[in-house]
Assembly symmetry: C2
Homo-oligomer: 255 residues x 2
């Protein structure tokens, strides 16, 4: 009978030790059979990257009724590809990533390993959702996110998502959430992105840092506005990145 429950494939980019994924698994277990294939170390900023130049490896960490957990030496996207190929006897009903310790709204969608998990599920035709919170703390309190996560997951399990569409859900840092806003990706960019330091007399070492500069902070449609105003930001994401609007004018270039 257990096979009749929804099958939920879970991963993240913070690795198996992160509180976020353990909380996520806890929140999801009442909703289905959970299989987690999780990076064996932090993989923040992994985007949709793949391990190409070396083999990857996975191993069983934990198995009990309704939950199986594996750790994997690959990237977040590798984890989903490998789980679909090697672990699962049926196609999952859902792929869920997170809960990421850190904001994946706006342009972060492109760098995020959390969204690398989601994009891979989406490209494989599986409804897929990423959850992130705008707080990097190791011990952040995820409890206020639980009812939102369960509600969004249940909606997606019931209604599905269009082919090549997925969800990027971000929670504000302050937990007194005002509700859900459906958003578009904020325009903006990271600036002052590198901290410069010397090592053994060589001054060309740089560590990634930076601050995000919002290009449309005041627009109430954006995910940044939602997060800055206490709302849970649900940004639908399209895996077909064709710029259809540009096709016609480009055709004129080559006539």
């Amino acid at each position: 009978m257990d096979n009749q429950r929804p099958l939920i494939l879970v991963s993240n980019d913070d690795g198996l030790m992160a509180k976020g994924i353990n909380e996520l698994i806890k929140f999801l277990r009442p909703l289905g059979e959970v299989v987690a294939m999780v990076p064996d170390r932090p993989r923040s900023g992994a985007a949709c990257s793949l391990t190409v130049t070396e083999p990857i490896h996975y191993e069983l960490v934990r198995k009990e009724v309704g939950l199986t957990v594996y750790r994997c030496s690959g990237t977040p996207t590798d984890c989903i590809k490998l789980a679909l190929h090697t672990l699962l006897e049926r196609k999952p009903d859902l792929v869920v990533a997170g809960i990421n310790h850190g904001d994946n709204s706006s342009v972060n969608v492109h760098y995020s390993g959390t969204m690398g998990v989601v994009m891979e599920g989406c490209l494989k035709g599986i409804p897929s959702i990423g959850f992130s919170i705008c707080d990097h703390s190791v011990d952040v309190d995820f409890a206020p996110a639980a009812p939102y996560i369960r509600s969004i997951v249940q909606q997606v399990l019931q209604q599905g998502l269009p082919r090549l569409s997925c969800l990027n859900v971000n929670f504000p840092a302050i937990p007194d959430y005002k509700g859900v806003r459906i958003c578009r990706q904020t325009a903006g960019q990271w600036e002052h992105a590198w901290e410069h330091f010397a090592h053994r007399g060589d001054t060309h070492y740089y560590w990634l840092t930076g601050e995000f500069v919002d290009a449309d902070a005041d627009c109430e449609e954006t995910d940044h506005w939602a997060l800055n105003n206490g709302y849970v930001a649900v940004t639908p994401v399209r895996a077909d990145v064709t710029d259809y609007a540009l096709m016609d004018s480009l055709k004129q270039w080559f006539e």
Copy 2:
């Protein structure tokens, strides 16, 4: 006077030893001042990944009139971020990636380090183009691509690209090109993606492989159709990945 020429920032994901980037630099030099910041090793499948957990380093490789080349320990996206932050006194007129040894059409756009370069340029507000060829050979002949690359680059230098739009250009494996087609991203997916083997008695080692299964091979609008029929495929890509069409129906979920 040299500062009046277009400034072109170049990178790739195959690393500095690859023929593709050296050919690209050769093709671009007549069109402007070229600065290359290139990964110091192959980074295929790097997507838009960033180096987060360690510092990165770069060094000068070559400097002559109109060309400066650096190598960098970071990802393709790091290369662009770091070059913009540390090397360039003015904003480049163009970011160009490639020429990649391998096909970056269809869903490969999400995994490609070549397109990681392009996406970063695009997010920074710079017109950006990725060039790839559907041939993995180390010694592939790029000469037939040269007039197309020069023509596309000149068009983009003259006409620009809309904010948050960039180009993914792929050349067929067979060099007798029939012209340019403006395309959309082919739907499809990689299947049978992992080759399984044993190492020291542990059978859980996997190496990425797979075959691409086209979901709309017969549609003449797709980049796969163009490539399979001898055309140079120019696919415009949008860095705002919001699924605008889905926003309204999602709003109904939370009413």
